[in-house]
């Protein structure tokens, strides 16, 4: 079952935070992106991921589509990407201690924006309610299913 994550943080507008945001943008391709890519590739749980700044530096979003249970893998991502999350979360108010699993869990849960519509595959959100809509061209096949099929295809 695939779930959407739309982590949306309002960026503080003080000069220090905006300078940190600028630093993040400038270093993203060279220093941040490879680390995220390595962790997500190894996880075999995340279909797509991107980080977006929208408005006039008003919001930063971490958007992914991931497999598995909401509560099962939060701790893996916190642990694998602690410095990255620390950098991104520091741009917003109410920054959690990313070394603290409980704080990270609470902050991530509250910062996730529900998608419009209703899920069609039985998916539930982090509150156990019917999740918002997420289109899947391949009937919500999981990353491991797709990788396995691609490997079999390549072997033939």
């Amino acid at each position: 079952m695939t779930h959407p994550l739309t982590l949306t943080l309002k960026i503080k507008q003080d000069p220090e935070t905006l300078a940190a945001l600028n630093d993040l943008k400038e270093n993203f391709a060279e220093h941040i992106q490879p680390k995220i890519e390595e962790a997500l590739r190894k996880s075999k749980l995340v279909h797509f991921a991107r980080v977006v700044v929208i408005g006039d530096n008003e919001y930063i979003q971490v958007i992914t589509e991931y497999d598995g249970d909401h509560f099962e893998y939060t701790e893996f991502f916190r642990d694998a990407l602690t410095p990255i999350f620390a950098k991104i979360f520091s741009l917003a108010d109410g920054v959690p201690d990313v070394d603290n699993p409980a704080e990270f869990f609470e902050f991530s849960k509250n910062a996730n924006v529900r998608t419009l519509g209703l899920s069609t595959d039985g998916a539930t959100d982090m509150h156990g309610n019917q999740a918002g809509w997420l289109f899947s061209a391949y009937n919500h096949a999981e990353v491991r299913d797709i990788l396995g099929a691609l490997q079999r295809d390549a072997a033939e």
Partner: protein, 480 residues
């Protein structure tokens, strides 16, 4: 800092010889009088590795009753407030993320929508079918775990406790269908549980001195208050909450119904198809063993793949590394799912559990009359499982999820729909997209595995999460 076993309630680190076991659930109406009750009964709670009445103590000694205590979050909150613990930095209203949300938050209680969805508690496993009077955890605050040597001692002991509880304003949440009006049962003869398997063989050997000895488990699997980089146990920071929870453990209670007739029918109905594969073993015994990972006498399939040894082998020293395909112990056998030992995990789980798969300290007891044969008698029977650990979501709930969906190891990718399958003994077979069949390798090259349609042999009748404080914190909560 290392734990002092004397400060840990003995129930979790020793085994008692008492045959009769009862879990009394009480609701606190007046915290002040409740503390009076606790002072009288908690004063004698055992701590340490060899309490009186345990196998580690003098086996000839007379068995006196023993009791232990655990509390859910509303219960702890009431007692801390009565204690005016805010002055010590323990304000329950400000606990925030000092403790795991799966303990403190109603939104993440076992019967909450979020946890029910996460654990796939659907169909007959759904909370509306739990307990006997709805699933509201506010119905109780205290779990008093009582151990008695014999029926007469139990009768007397329960009478005394109940009289004092009533006088102390504690309201007992009773279970009318049990003779003792409480979750109660006994250690069955020979340790044989309802499905006919000997229990109590696999034990968690706690590494108290952090030696890292293979086969031993870090004490942080059980105890709160010692967070490390490998065990990010809440609270992760020093302070009063860490001091309060140190040497305590979460006690996850799972009331499980076992459908013995359905299990026996399953074995009987597939006797013929199993016979060509079972070699010298009886086909039904062979199938049961493949589903459990142990022969019914408790001997491990990993050590005795062909037949039940004579005499039985209690050895627990085995792994699965040399059996990646599950030819001896099937990948979906119960003991292999609940404790994969040295079986490789997925990268994600390797990182989550750097010291090995999550462990649970199992206590509990069987309840209800035994049943032989394939016709159900309509009587309730099963297991009251008590699973202790330091992290509810990372340990207890992870194992519950693995039972429902075996996707925790790369080995499952080697078989058809391996990650969509379930523990062969246990699982909600109606789970969406579940591959609810056995997967038992046939043993000879090229032969098709045995894939038989599984039934719901076990179902949840209730889950509750408690915290069993250290001996010191128990006294503090008691107002001492």
């Amino acid at each position: 800092m290392k734990p002092d076993p004397k400060n840990v309630q003995s129930l979790f680190i020793a085994r008692y010889r008492h045959k009769f076991r009862v879990v009394l659930l009480f609701r606190i109406d007046d915290p002040a009088t409740a503390q009076g009750f606790l002072q009288r009964w908690a004063a004698n709670v055992n701590g340490g590795l060899s309490p009186a009445g345990s196998y580690a103590a003098d086996v000839e000694a007379q068995l006196d009753p023993v009791c232990h205590f655990a509390f859910n979050w509303p219960g702890i909150s009431l007692l801390l407030k009565e204690r005016a613990a805010t002055a010590q930095g323990l304000d329950p209203d400000e606990v925030g993320t000092n403790l795991e949300q799966f303990f403190t938050e109603e939104d993440h209680a076992p019967n909450s929508n979020s946890v029910v969805a996460s654990l796939d508690m659907k169909g007959m496993n759904a909370p509306e079918n739990w307990w006997t009077a709805g699933a509201d955890q506010s119905a109780f605050h205290i779990a008093m775990l009582c151990y008695f040597a014999d029926a007469a001692q139990k009768f007397q002991g329960l009478g005394k406790i109940r009289a004092d509880a009533e006088a102390s304003g504690l309201e007992e949440w009773q279970f009318p269908d049990f003779d003792d009006k409480a979750l109660s049962g006994e250690v069955p003869a020979g340790g044989i549980l309802h499905f006919g398997f000997r229990d109590g063989i696999s034990k968690v050997d706690i590494d108290w001195e952090e030696t890292g000895t293979p086969g031993k488990s870090d004490f942080r699997e059980l105890l709160l208050g010692y967070p490390s980089s490998d065990y990010r146990i809440s609270p992760v920071d020093p302070g009063p909450w860490n001091d309060f929870v140190r040497d305590g453990t979460y006690l996850n209670l799972a009331w499980l119904y076992q459908d013995v007739a359905a299990f026996n029918r399953f074995l009987r109905d597939h006797r013929n198809v199993t016979a060509p594969l079972s070699g010298q073993a009886d086909p039904e015994e062979w199938l049961a063993a493949k589903m459990m990972g142990r022969w019914r006498d408790g001997s491990a399939l990993a050590l005795h793949p062909e037949r039940m040894p004579e005499p039985w082998d209690p050895s627990n020293n085995f792994g699965y590394r040399s059996d990646p395909e599950g030819e001896r112990t099937p990948l979906h056998s119960h003991i292999r799912v609940c404790n994969p030992r040295d079986q490789g995990l997925t990268h994600v789980n390797d990182r989550r559990f750097p010291k090995g798969p999550p462990r649970l300290i199992r206590r509990g007891f069987s309840y209800g009359p035994p049943l032989e044969g394939t016709e159900d008698d309509g009587k309730d029977r099963g297991l009251v499982g008590l699973f202790a650990c330091a992290r509810i979501n990372e340990q207890f709930y992870s194992v519950v999820r693995w039972i429902q969906k075996t996707d925790f190891s790369d080995h499952f990718d080697t078989i058809r729909r391996g990650r969509k399958r379930q523990d062969m003994m246990f699982g909600f077979r109606g789970k969406r997209q579940a591959e609810a069949t056995t997967y038992i390798p046939a043993g000879s090259a090229g032969a098709a595995p045995l894939e038989l349609p599984l039934k719901d042999f076990i179902r949840y009748k209730g889950i509750a999460v408690f915290f069993a404080p250290s001996v010191k914190s128990l006294k503090y909560l008691s107002g001492s």
